[in-house]
Amino acid sequence: MKVYSTLKDIQTDLYAGSITCRQLVEFYLKNIEEKNNTLNAFLSVFDQEALEKADEIDAKIKAGTAKKLAGMVLGIKDLLCYKDHTSQAGSRILDGFESQFTATAVQRVIDEDAIIIGRQNCDEFGMGSTNENSAFGPCLNAVGENRVAGGSSGGSAVAVQADMCLASLGTDTGGSVRMPAGFCGLVGLKPTYTRVSRWGLIAYASSFDCIGPITKSVEDAAILLEIIAGKDEQDSTVSNEKVPEYTAFQTEKKTYKIGYLKEAVESEGLQPEVKAATLAKLAYLKAQGHEVEAVDFPLIKYFLPTYYTLTTAEASSNLSRFDGVRYGHRSTEATDLMSLYKKSRFEGFGKETRKRIMLGTFVLSASYYDAYYTKAQKIRRLIKEFTDNLLTEYDFLVCPTTPTTAYKLGEKTADPIQMYLGDLFTVQANVVGLPAISIPNGLDNDGMPIGFQIMAGAFEEAELLTFAQLIS
């Protein structure tokens, strides 16, 4: 079967009758069967369900009643709840847990006739940049040898990259959609914070977490966002802002004013090919008539400390519910309440998760609260004000998605600082709650994909997607 990159092409053929949904699902299932053992992108495959749903939608297509996402075969990250299906957040602590409800974003794509093909590997609770922190083992990049997928939505990216599904829904707390998209040569979109309901998103850091699509095309990212975005009774933090027609790709502007982060593009730590590809993209933009300027961002050195202080603080609280009392893993060694907590949590959580829980507990503790948590909140506000100001002057802020292409497996695990530095360019969007997209920007000398990140003002996804489409 032809390898599809957009839903539009699929639907053209579906409606022409040259393919069926069942054939599509069979095609993806075959790829999963062939590749998943090596790549480890899927944790569960809903093969029978997917095939039944495919027949149902084939019938709807014939009857002319199929909805917008007919023909979209989709995978979901293990951080998204799906009723009566296992949801484990890549963690042993949720062993045996099945969700009793479906995440709003997942329900909305199902309601539009998307087919959910399986549950995808990720770093435990979204805590990681390589997918090496999964309790189910790392997910590998489909390109190169022993290269990481990126994280935390590694399985979601590789599944698309290796044609195991057309698109995925991932989650992005500090770059977890954009980074693996960049590492795998795909499009990864993190919407504005509060654009998409978090109901059914297993929380890592509530004031940062966002659900976002990973796709092969900007077009499909737009289609998915259009469906998952908007008000939700279940999540009171969701914005009332109207959801525009992202798929229209309409803009009055012919040229844009673009700022690139000088500190990022000129950084010493940038892999030469990444730097070259980024500069080439900037040159291309200029050549297209856009205004391109370097902007200083002196607060860049505070991005990571702010991000890790606040996300670990929230995580330490969000993950308290996993105590072995009501669901998930309970240690068989426990002798009393305290040992039930300690042993269940020690056995259930991986090393990185335990580290972040301890770090978060520390920054929230009475003696250090003001020195860390309060200070980080203040800096978060400063970074937000600074970024918002820049975005009144510039339409977009751009930089490479990551300083390097995908690492070798295990390359960074020994040095957490180096590992965290990989998130330097992506965390800003989460710290300030703005939308950002990663689009493919060529390959390095080893053939590994390079990502280019574009960030826009709050709720300016329409412009962001239009611009991304324009320059892809």
Partner: protein
């Protein structure tokens, strides 16, 4: 159970200090009162918030803290808290947010409690109390909204704990007083007023036994005149007025005794054992918790607009002191009556409803405080369960006022019949039972003349000054009328007839 407690109390010798020593110390008490708000659903979930359901039947994924769930604020709970604040003259906070209070306990599903640490919904205000030593206002530091936890049940002889999450997520207000309560009496009076108020406001059933209203007591002692508070001790989860008083009394003596003996008072959490009447220290860990409060990111800030506040103010029910004013001024009742009638909202409402049908307000008050109350007490009923309607009670009062029946006949014979047969009016009952007093002077005159004619010798004696015979004539007339003669009218008629002879 009660018997068991009594036996132990009898042999328990509680510590004591003499009055002279006691007078050297000032007691400082602050209360943290928890009131469960009687909203239909929980504060952050749609599950029913009700007492007494089978264990774990009101437990949605939100209540159980399942991964992926988010809280959704129940506006009704906010309005109930606002009512309390408005009634207590507190400042209602315009911009609020919720905080997470982090601690591990099996009955706390999320590992944190959603509460208000930095921006309580109400600031200041207070409750007026009448004490044996005078009147005062016990001021609130603040009132905040939060969610209740579930319940752990420990069964005897088993190391297992059983958990019931029905209560988890029930809305609570915590009312924190300033440390200015001076005695056990004051604490109990304050609690009684708070219970009355929450019931008036319809925000909490005030049932202490079921735990809908409970309090933690913070208590310390210091030498009279000192500006520095002594070390405070917290007594947790008091769910009876009697226990509150006993625990405070015990703790005052224990603390004074300790200070007198140069013993250090440890800042700790203690629990009160009703069986022994003593308090004892709980594990020290409990008081060493670092709750790591931080703003709840899953909820948007809560903004109380002017319009919202006004609409809640408009819907406020009448408050006990407002009714007291009204009852003394508009209805002209003595303060004593007004106090008794406003003790509960239902009684006050019954009074006012009855006053819609009669102008004899004092009689209504007498009836409610007398016959009605004692009937309710005898049968262990609330006024809401009374079958006699306010209109019927007013009809009965009218019957007395019209001189058709005497007061005692009304309360002893007609009222019980009205309860037994709700379909009949008081008049119908009186007629059926032949209880209508004769005030027809023609019939009465005949009776008077008859009696006087039959007793001509006694009439002479009367005329010669033996005025005491009047009651003898009256008795004869009453006998003849079979008790239906109106005593007032008859006496007047009799005297007149005798004079004219």
């Amino acid at each position: 159970m009660a018997f068991y407690y009594l036996c132990i109390l009898k042999f328990e010798i509680l510590p004591s200090v003499n009055q002279e020593i006691r007078d050297k110390y000032e007691v400082v008490i602050g209360l943290e009162v928890h009131a469960q708000l009687q909203t239909e659903s929980k504060i952050f979930a749609a599950d029913a918030a009700s007492f007494g359901a089978s264990p774990n039947t009101h437990i949605s994924p939100i209540t159980l803290g399942h991964p992926g769930t988010l809280p959704k604020l129940n506006k009704k709970a906010v309005e109930f808290a606002m009512r309390m604040g408005i009634a207590c003259n507190s400042q209602i906070t315009e911009n609020q947010y919720f905080d997470r209070k982090n601690y591990f306990y099996p009955d706390l599903p999320k590992g944190y409690q959603i509460t208000q640490d930095k921006t309580p919904i109400c600031m200041g205000g207070g409750v007026h109390v009448k004490l044996s030593t005078g009147e005062k206002t016990v001021r609130f530091h603040h009132i905040h909204l939060e969610e209740d936890a579930g319940k752990s049940l420990h069964t005897d002889g088993s190391s297992d704990s059983l958990l019931d999450y029905n209560r988890a997520g029930t809305p609570l207000i915590e009312m924190v007083t300033e440390p200015e309560i001076k005695s056990a009496e004051e604490a109990a009076t304050f609690m009684t007023e708070v219970r009355k108020l929450v019931r008036y406001l319809g925000i909490c059933d005030g049932n202490m036994e079921e735990g809908s209203l409970r309090c933690d007591v913070n208590i310390s002692v210091m030498p009279v005149g000192s500006k520095v508070f002594g070390t405070k001790v917290e007594i947790k989860n008091m769910n009876s007025m009697r226990f509150i008083q006993k625990a405070i009394e015990y703790e005052i003596v224990r603390q004074i005794d300790a200070v007198e003996n140069n013993e250090k008072i440890i800042q700790e959490t203690r629990s009160f054992d009703p069986a022994t009447g003593r308090t004892s220290g709980m594990r020290e860990k409990e008081s060493m918790n670092d709750y790591r409060y931080f703003p709840e990111p899953d909820l948007v800030p809560l903004v109380i607009s002017e319009e919202w506040l006004s609409s809640v103010k408009e819907q406020m029910p009448a408050l006990p002191w407002e009714l007291f004013e009204k009852f003394t001024k508009e209805y002209g009742l003595p303060a004593y009556d007004a106090n008794v009638l406003t003790d509960s909202r239902e009684v006050a409402e019954y009074f006012e409803a009855t006053c819609q049908f009669t102008k004899n307000y004092k009689a209504v008050s007498n009836w409610i405080m007398g016959t009605v109350k004692s009937y309710l007490n005898d049968h262990n009923l609330e006024i809401g369960q009374l079958s006699v309607t306010p209109e019927q009670l007013a009809q009965l009062i009218q019957l007395v006022d019209d001189g058709k029946v005497s007061n005692s006949t009304a309360s002893q014979q007609i009222f019980p019949e009205m309860i037994a047969d709700n379909a009949k009016t008081p008049l119908q009952i009186a007629e059926a039972k032949n209880l209508i007093q004769q005030s027809n002077t023609d019939t009465l005159q005949t009776l008077v003349d008859e009696v006087l004619a039959n007793n001509s010798a006694k009439v002479k004696e009367y005329k010669n000054g033996k005025k005491g015979l009047l009651s003898m004539f009256m008795g004869e007339i009453m006998k003849k009328s079979k008790g239906s003669a109106d005593p007032k009218v008859t006496t007047a008629l009799l005297q007149k007839t005798l004079e004219n002879l």
